[in-house]
Symmetry: C7
Subunit: 75 residues, 7 copies
């Protein structure tokens, strides 16, 4: 996710890599970034929901709607 001049370039650089996604409701999801679009809708693979660093549940593939997302960062 380095040296990007547009925000979506940064997401593109993170494709197929492990990322953390934090939602407006405080939930954290960690998984491999498989897909995203201009709305910041995101698909993670091998995804886990974590609370305070503990795995709360394993979700496998998960689609996260963009307008619920606060941040995306390499995990």
């Amino acid at each position: 996710m380095m040296e990007a001049s547009r925000p979506l370039d940064a997401l593109n650089n993170a494709r197929d890599k492990s990322v953390i996604v934090e939602l407006k409701n405080g939930k954290q999801f960690i998984g491999n970034l498989k897909a995203f679009d201009i709305h910041i809708n995101v698909v993670l693979d091998n995804a886990e929901e974590r609370v305070d660093g503990e795995v709360k549940r394993k979700l496998g593939v998960v689609f996260l709607r963009g307008d619920t997302i606060i941040l995306i960062s390499p995990a």
Copy 2:
């Protein structure tokens, strides 16, 4: 929902399969994904609302408005 390059491709791969849909108000719906659109409006068939893993009610077909949805994942 694997190997998708765009988020909606992932939803397309889940069509006619069982998915869990979680809403901003904390509710969970499980059913077969029959339809979706770019707003992430979703139609489930054989849908159930669940609370803590228990079936709260059976809804049959249900239309869920996209802007209330947080995540969609195979059930």
Copy 3:
């Protein structure tokens, strides 16, 4: 509302039939689906507001603004 490939097709199949509409504020309205549009603005006829299965009030015709709606399902 069966066999629809797009979410609005499902609403179209429910036209003139009894549906339940649930709003973000927790209110439930039941009535015959007379009209809807792409914003999911909805018009019900013979509409009732219900709380815990009890009729709270009868409204006759009611226009419900789409962005307040969580779900629509056959009643």
Copy 4:
């Protein structure tokens, strides 16, 4: 407001008639529907704000912004 195939047709049928408008903040306004647009911005004439069926204040003409509206129904 009967026999409308599109939601705005239903509003058009209510033009110059008494309607109740309920807002997201729980307030109710009753008045004659003078105008509306695709955003569901609404103008009422001879409008009153009511709380529990009691008139709280008389407003005369009032413009209500569409995104604050939950429902519109004949009064």
Copy 5:
């Protein structure tokens, strides 16, 4: 603000007249309506913020962003 067929016509009829503007956060502003646009962004002149009918502060000219506005009515 009488006899308008579109909501913005009603605002246009109120131009240069005293109006009350109520916001989603419960605040009330009273002033002369100098300008508005399709987003219902509004400019008042000789504006006051009032709480329970009392003047809380005088603002002179104030720009109010449309998406914070619930209603506009002649003062």
Copy 6:
């Protein structure tokens, strides 16, 4: 900010002048209005955040996202 027929004209008249900007979260910023756009994104220079009339912090230049803004008024 006088004699404007469109709301953004009023902002244009305030350019390079001291304004107060109030946000939906209750915060107040005071500074010279350097730039704005149709989303009401705003840039202030020599900006201060104030609470109850007291300076809470000095920010220098600050970009404020439009959808967080309630009002803008000469300071």
Copy 7:
């Protein structure tokens, strides 16, 4: 971020410089501004989340979705 006539010019002037970004949920992120777009989606490098001036966690690169942002200012 000085002498900008449009808000995004101010962000452009801050590119590759240290900025503070404050979110609607009260969180603060500090890092080098690497990218932004018209939605105010932002990418920071060498980013830290801070609470009351203390570093809460280091994130490296972080994508922040624009609609969660309140303000951006040089750090």
